[in-house]
């Protein structure tokens, strides 16, 4: 009898079973909305199953809450961050476990412990920094450190690498390998098949809330895993032949000159042509997101932005959109979604003024467009009036993307556009972006996944420490070249893996 769990209108899990062996890393894969996170939340005691049982080392287990799960030795990195932005990094990690003397919290001890933990894990974070000052990647690192601060037997990681670049992923894998011992095990949820291949021993596949299969990693081809996930054979696309004539020879749509911010950016200049997809690569904190935010006026900057040869003053994102520049943020929870509103309202948000008649919003249009998007992007939701908070992570990401597709900007800046999106859908999105470019839109793709950048971009801008260190045409670019440019400033690696010494 497997585990089942339903939400109003959705049967998220139906008779699902998994088993994790001592000393192994079990990968859990499936399309967006397949039920992976729901299953992990059952193990973490956040939800209670409708039916079915769980066992830990032979003993029945039914954690009533997160704390009880921790006490049983289950530690979870959730897909959505659960951080308190106003507290410091150290305070976040040890929330609920504060060391005290005479009932007064010893913050010095707290920071010391956090410092030790970071040193052990090789994470370069300041324990005293408020979490609100961290980038998404930094926040992800805090979550990882927090999960590893428990003395856990089972470590559950729900898409921990979605926001990380390859260097940090390497750090993470070293941490995972260190963790695995004959008395422990790891459940690893990811959409990145290369990572799954690299780290896991076995792979369990879910589809549509059902258990499909479990296969030994070494003996299974990625193609087979994907087929099990989507229930049919899927051709993983390759980059289509570059459009002719070369987009780089068409007219410049967006020109950025000498973009500089007080915090990080130094003299960033580049051109974006009509119909071009320009990739931005770099390590965590290289400043790619900052470039985007500066262009759309979300942060203060100096420098010149020209749209179609005309200099424009962009003081806020509204100005940017008015000038035809849209920006999809890497942080969907903070900058992307109206979590407590439905899919329709989220999809309409950027385009509302265009969906009015005599000053009144035409909700029927909005609903029609939303349905169209749900179909086009295969957003898994019981209806377009579902609250986005209740969607799975990947489907939320699709909703944000849909919002910008509806807006139809000439220049679209997408920052980690496929964060948390499954392989099948990813390819659909790649196809979509490519066809947008073919229609004459210009797109900037910021991504920490080099394959993604290489798959999409005509040219690739590489950044390091707030500066552009090189621009490569896709044909000439290799992962190696890019990494070299991304680490141009020598030993200043943000994260160095233990064996790098």
């Amino acid at each position: 009898m497997g585990i089942s769990k339903s939400f109003p209108g959705v049967r998220a899990l139906d008779d699902v079973h998994i088993d994790l062996r001592h000393g192994e890393v079990l990968a859990l894969v499936g399309e967006n909305g397949a039920g992976k996170s729901t299953l992990m939340k059952l193990l973490a005691g956040i939800y209670q199953p409708d039916a079915g049982t769980m066992e830990l080392e032979g003993a029945p287990m039914s954690p009533a809450g997160p704390r009880q799960a921790n006490e049983l030795g289950i530690s979870v990195i959730h897909q959505e961050f659960h951080l308190m932005p106003d507290l410091t990094v150290a305070q976040n990690i040890f929330i609920g476990r504060e060391p005290r003397r005479a009932s007064l919290i010893r913050d010095d001890e707290l920071e010391r412990r956090a410092g030790l933990l970071f040193e052990r894990l090789g994470i370069p974070l300041d324990p005293r920094q408020p979490v609100s000052h961290l980038s998404v990647a930094g926040q992800q690192m805090v979550e990882i450190a927090k999960a590893l601060s428990f003395d856990a037997r089972v470590l559950i990681m729900d898409e921990p690498t979605a926001a990380l670049t390859e260097t940090e992923v390497a750090t993470l894998f070293r941490i995972v390998r260190d963790f695995v011992s004959p008395r422990t095990g790891v459940i690893y949820v990811s959409h990145r098949m290369e990572e799954v291949k690299e780290i896991s021993d076995r792979i369990t596949v879910l589809r549509d809330g059902h258990y499909v299969d479990t296969m030994p990693t070494a003996e299974t081809a990625t193609r087979q895993v994907i087929a099990a996930m989507v229930g049919r054979q899927l051709e993983v696309g390759v980059r289509p032949d570059p459009a002719a004539p070369d987009p780089a020879e068409r007219e410049v749509v967006l020109s950025v000159r000498g973009l500089t911010t007080r915090k990080l950016l130094k003299d960033v200049s580049f051109d974006l042509h009509r119909g071009e997809i320009l990739g931005f690569a770099g390590l965590m904190g290289a400043g790619r997101t900052e470039v985007a935010r500066a262009i759309i006026g979300a942060d203060r900057s100096t420098g010149v932005v020209e749209v179609k040869g005309k200099r424009v003053a962009v003081r806020n994102p509204a100005d940017a959109v008015r000038n035809g520049i849209g920006y999809l943020s890497e942080d969907r929870k903070r900058y992307g979604l109206l979590l407590d509103q439905d899919v329709v309202r989220n999809v309409m948000l950027s385009s509302l003024p265009g969906m009015t008649r005599a000053g009144f919003v035409r909700d029927l249009d909005g609903r029609r467009v939303a349905r169209q998007m749900v179909d086009q992007l295969a957003i898994r939701t019981p209806s377009v009036t579902q609250t986005t908070k209740n969607l799975s992570g990947g489907n939320q990401q699709k909703v944000v993307l849909a919002k910008w597709l509806v807006r139809d900007c000439d220049v679209l800046i997408v920052d980690e556009p496929t964060r948390g999106i499954d392989v099948g859908a990813k390819d659909e999105i790649y196809g979509l972006l490519t066809s947008l470019a073919a229609q004459g839109k210009s797109i900037i793709v910021i991504s920490s996944e080099l394959p993604e950048v290489l798959r999409l971009a005509d040219r690739i801008v590489v950044m390091c420490e707030g500066r552009i260190t090189g621009t490569l045409a896709n044909a000439d670019a290799t992962q190696h070249d890019i990494m070299e440019l991304a680490t141009r400033f020598g030993a200043d690696h943000l994260i160095t893996t233990g064996d790098a010494e």
């Binding site: 959705v10 994102p317 943020s329 509103q341 509302l352 179909d375 295969a378």
Partner: protein
């Protein structure tokens, strides 16, 4: 493109229907309270008394409509009470002191409300003051100005022909205009909240201000618009109040803001923003007025009335939470 759309077939009820159902059910608390008092006092259900309740709801109700918009953004408006007073006083200045035509005076009163909203909005948007502080300051300034402008004396409209008819007359026989104005204002507010950019952006800002801004909405400008809309309702409340009393009372108004906000919150609008319904606000305002009236009709001693109102509010809102919890 993939064609997996298991999604749509899993929708048992259409959302539209459910929301309507919810709002109809929200009447439940009010109906129970009504039922109880009808049972407890033979006089309660008289049309005269019901009319009295409606009339007592009108002014605070109109203020609450405006406050709903601000609260939808996650803000709060403490200036509705004394702001309303300032609008009454200015209406008095326009009509009784300057002798301007009726229409001009009334529009003037509304304009003063809009101006109050404009200042609130600018302070919140461009000076980035917390709404609590901006509107608290406005509450004090409006109170002071009401007294200064009126010379701390009431301004009487006795010589302004027809002004008292504005609220006191009965275009629909049996129903005072004040009540009619309240319902009309509620209808307009409902449309504005759910069907115009102002309302939509108010809810979006309340739901996630940063995401709304990144989506290309000029949040600062729209916030100003939203506060101006709220101010217009404050102005309307001021005019109705002045007409009902046939005078502008400069000392009145303090404390009304809490009543108005309470009506909004009892109606199910969240102070965190993002969720707001006008029907809820109307019901919230009616619940407050009905409670006060019913307890008075039952001749409950004043001190016990407070206790009873407090307890009933807890019960009513808790019942509402239970009901919504079940549906979600």
């Amino acid at each position: 493109m993939t064609t997996k759309t298991t999604a749509t077939k899993r929708t048992p009820t259409r959302f539209g229907n459910r929301q309507q159902l919810q709002q109809i059910l929200a009447f439940a608390g009010l109906v129970v309270i009504f039922g109880f008092f009808s049972f407890a006092s033979p006089y309660f259900l008289d049309w005269a008394n019901v009319k009295g309740i409606l009339l007592a709801t009108a002014v605070t109700g109109i203020m609450a409509l405006g406050a709903t918009f601000v609260i939808a953004t996650g803000g709060i408006d403490l200036s509705v009470g004394t702001g309303m007073t300032l609008c009454s006083v200015m209406t008095g200045v326009f009509l009784a002191n300057l002798g301007l035509p009726l229409v001009v005076g009334v529009l003037g009163g509304l304009a003063v409300g809009a101006l109050i909203g404009l200042l609130n909005g600018l302070n919140v948007s461009y000076l980035r003051l917390p709404p609590f502080i901006a509107t608290l300051a406005m509450m004090m300034v409006a109170q002071g100005l009401s007294l200064v402008i009126s010379g701390t004396k009431p301004i009487y409209f006795s010589d302004v022909a027809g002004f008292d008819e504005l609220a006191g007359g009965e275009l629909i026989p049996g129903l005072p205009n004040a009540v009619l104005i309240f319902f009309a204002a509620a209808a307009i507010a409902g449309v504005v909240l759910s069907k115009t950019l102002t309302g939509r952006y108010a809810l979006s800002i309340g739901s996630n201000e940063e995401a709304t801004a990144i989506s290309g909405v000029d949040v600062r400008r729209w916030k100003v618009v939203i506060y101006v809309v709220a101010g217009l309702f404050t102005g309307l409340a001021g005019v109705v109040m002045a007409s009902r009393l046939n005078s502008a009372q400069p000392g009145l108004g303090l404390g009304y803001e809490l009543e108005a906000i309470a009506a909004v919150v009892i109606g199910g609008t969240s102070l965190r923003g993002g969720k707001a319904t006008i029907l809820g606000t109307v019901i919230g305002a009616l619940i407050m007025a009905t409670l006060t009236n019913g307890l008075r009709i039952m001749s409950i001693p004043q001190e016990w009335q407070k206790v009873a109102v407090g307890i009933v509010i807890v019960l009513a809102v808790y019942a509402d939470i239970l009901r919504r919890g079940k549906e979600a």
